[in-house]
């Protein structure tokens, strides 16, 4: 056999190899150079994986045969849409041999997070929105499956009553704050973290759901929006200058108590600058600047006033 003949023989499979690389290596779900899919799709997978947790998938929108976009829509790859080709994973393996893996989900799994997330984003990229790459969850390599449970009829992170528990798996410092004496009703399951924050990332500071912190607060506290005739400058700039929205030891989720909170900015001659000490408690000479609502005994309109005589926030 001469060299020319060898070359002509070799060039065809070489060309095919190159072509298969160009034609086949498109999806992030491929996990090896010789990928193959299972013989019968989900029926192959369900032969082994038939526990209740797996089958719960069929109660979700991931398993809607009438939806052509769904993994179980006509012509779609069923389980292997997300878990990648299972042709190597499904058959019997030899004794001592490790079963070839498929794509598995969760930060504690072997599949790299970018591969996992790429699989989810192949369909859900548009749903996640514009802010994913701007947000800290992407920077910190958080897997979609760290928060979401696809194999559950009700994904806990999508329910108001259970979402905070999912977030607190990582955000333990914030969990501690919500257990303080005064906080938003997250512990009771009546409010969710996504009521203020966008977990899929946002172009806003602290991933707020609206453009600014104040705009986000006004979603539920629109009575504070004004505009008022007499504004209180820090209020109009940033609610978190005085409030600790995750929780505080102090009523109203204030970062500290009146009068000291107010005296950290107000120094006018007279009562604003007089130190209030324990002598003003109920057991001593009860002081109107200390007890009851302290400064707010008189200066009720601390968020602003629309009264013509309200320049001192008393009307």
């Amino acid at each position: 056999m001469d060299l020319q003949r060898i070359a002509r023989i070799a060039i065809v499979p070489a060309f095919l190899a190159i072509l298969s690389t160009v034609g086949g290596a498109q999806t992030s779900s491929e996990i090896g150079p010789n990928v193959s899919y299972s013989r019968k799709g989900a029926d192959t997978c369900l032969a082994c994986h038939d526990d209740e947790a797996i089958l719960a998938l069929f109660k979700t929108r991931h398993a809607v045969p009438g939806d052509p976009r769904s993994p179980f829509g006509h012509g779609q790859l069923q389980c292997e849409s997300c878990h990648g080709p299972g042709g190597e994973h499904a058959p019997r393996v030899r004794r001592g041999q490790e079963r070839p893996p498929v794509i598995d989900f969760g930060s504690d799994k072997d599949t790299p997070v970018d591969v996992q997330n790429g699989t989810c984003l192949a369909c859900h990229d548009v749903d996640v929105g514009i802010g994913w790459h701007a947000g800290p969850h992407d920077s910190d390599e958080i897997a979609c499956a760290d928060c979401h449970v696809s194999h559950a009829a009700l994904d806990p992170v999508l329910q108001t009553s259970t979402q905070a528990d999912v977030c607190f798996d990582c955000h333990q410092l914030q969990r501690s704050e919500t257990l303080k004496a005064f906080s938003h009703p997250l512990f009771e399951g009546k409010m969710e973290c996504a009521g203020c924050h966008s977990p899929h990332g946002a172009t806003t500071i602290d991933q707020m759901i609206r453009q600014t912190v104040n705009d986000t607060c006004y979603e539920c506290h629109a009575e504070k929006r004004g505009p008022y005739l007499w504004e209180h400058a820090p209020v109009s700039e940033d609610c978190s200058l005085c409030h600790a929205p995750h929780g505080s030891n102090h009523p109203g989720m204030l970062s500290s108590r009146a009068p000291l909170l107010c005296q950290s900015c107000h120094s006018q001659s007279g009562h604003p600058s007089i130190p209030q000490d324990a002598g003003g408690l109920a057991t001593g000479m009860p002081s109107q600047f200390l007890l009851g609502q302290s400064c707010l005994n008189c200066h009720e309109q601390v968020h602003g006033s629309n009264h013509p005589s309200g320049s001192k926030l008393m009307r």
Binding site: A134, D277, A278, L291
Partner: protein, 701 residues
Amino acid sequence: MNALKGYKNTAILLFAIGSIVGPAAQAQVTDTSEWLCEFCPFESGQQADVSVGASSVSDDSAYFGDASGYSEEGVYANLDGTGSFASDRHRLQWQAEDLGLDSRVAALRGARPGSFDYNVAYRQIPRHQSFTSDSIFLQSDDGTLSLPAGWVRAPLTSGFTELNASLERRDIESERRIIEVGGNYLPSSRFKFSANYRRQERDGLDVYGGSYFTQSSLLPGSFDYATDVVDFGIRYAAGNGIISLDYYVSEFGNSNTELRWENPFTSSPGSEFAALARPPDNSFQQLSLSGRYRFSTFQTVASFTVAMGRMEQDEGFLPYTTNPNLAVSPLPRSSLDAKIDTTNFAFNLSSLLFRKLRVKLNYRYDERDNQTAQNDWSRVIADTFVSGESETNTPYSFERSVLNLSAEYKLFRSVRISGGYDRKTIDRDFQEVAEQTEDTGWGGVRWRPSGAWDIDFRAGASERDMDQYNETVGAALGQNPLMRKYNLAYRYRRFGEIRIAVSPAESPVALTINGLYADDEYTKSQLGITGGDDLRIASDLSWALSENASVYLSGGSENIDSEQLGSELFAAPDWRATNEDHFDTVGAGFRIMQIGSKFDLRMDYTRSDGTSKIFVDSTSGGVSQFPDLKSTLDFLRFELSYRRSDRLDYTMKLRYQKFVAEDWSLEGVDPATIPVVLTMGANSYDDEVLIVGLGVRYLFD
């Protein structure tokens, strides 16, 4: 020639193969014609999981009734459930929670997947602040808070001879009700139209401070708010890009324009009644355009948002005073006609420059342009006298921009280093600091020595400075020229964060520790906040004992300290105060499922302790330490369920809660304790509640 012909034939063959195999390889990943999904248990028809039961509550509790719905002693009916309906082309899910309580939730979601979806939801959130408040005020039909018949006025609370006979209990409580309706329509894979409407109503009682210059009353005022929000959006997605246009409207309405009350103290003629202005009706509209594009070069993703909005308020003014005996000049205008234009812009860029190096750029700009007109207003002091001076209203505006630059580099497979620089600039009108900048630098390391360990550490520092702290602005308002407001003052901050996660692959135990530290120094502030630090740590330990059993232990501790200086002589600092907030929490629990294949058991316990210490040291009064402000929460939850059959469960739930607070601003403060303030005498929280519930859960399908 024969060789050339051979190569020519080979080329023709290759071309033929390529033209068939190439496109076929791209279009057909595998043949799925045999994938019949015979064993796939697709959902069809109706299914519902309904729980019915009753709960007995041992005691009234404002603290535990707040948001939960279990505010009063008694028996409550419970009804919860979830359900679904599925057909080939339609999906429906519904959910109901606590239908027997004031914290009820009902929600319905439906969809024709790929075509449209819709949702309807109703939520109630009760709010209970105090069950121990008393008041003498009686609310008339027009909302005025009047004194009881026979009331005897006096200059001090000690002179209120009819006080005890006039006090009646007022529960300070309110309710928030939210209804939401919305949907999305997808006429094609590229377009999505969305529309959402939400109405929030909030009404009830709150406590308001009603001042009469040297005296004051705490008032149980009713309020009635409603907020309507509408949000429309159009999204177009194609290829690597998304673009979205959204229109947002929020309208706030208040059923009351004023809170009018009758002065219980001796007053000058004409000042028997006073009125507080209520939050005015207002509106906010915003149009925003946002988008994202993925470039193939360096895996670059760019996104942006541009938003323009306007806040408006034009509620008619109350008169300067309710006192007919005061001669005041006319109002300069009958309503504010307030307008604030908002502009927001954000741009983000993320690129993987090399295989190991990712860079990010974020830029954000927010503007609040208050275009409300300024006028001179007469000063009537608490409906008592006309000061003779006028004051000009101040329409605050600001521009804020934030630039973040960061980079991450995978030094080794297990080590990633990162660093960044942030610059924040705020320009303000009418305030002491017209231009303020804050520069922050930070660095971090993430180390994963093995699959079991993940250690992430980050630290940095920031310096906030200004062109000038204009003391004349504060002086015009009577401020001590040495005062430096903490949000405007020079500040140097150091911070650090650490996260350690340990979860060995084959081990059932996982441990996570989070810590944060921040230290602020206001070295150029002679009055106001001069320093503060914040140290927090939290940890979780979980142990999966078996497939069906797990335990967990969690805890956290936080310490926030701050120091401030003041001057009662309107000169150099002559008093100092420190505030120390400490908070500890610990939790533990277990889950055991399938005990004897019939029982599931769950227990959770949480204890939280908060303590705040305040010290004041002044030249005039010496050292003074306040009693500790304390709060202690004990929470125990126990749930046992028995699986009678595949469809039927019996459940028992037990919940014990105790919350005790020591608050010196309330303790010993009866309505007449403060000579010049008529309070409502609320007590510190001391609530203990046991809730026992029995229920039945049935699965319908």
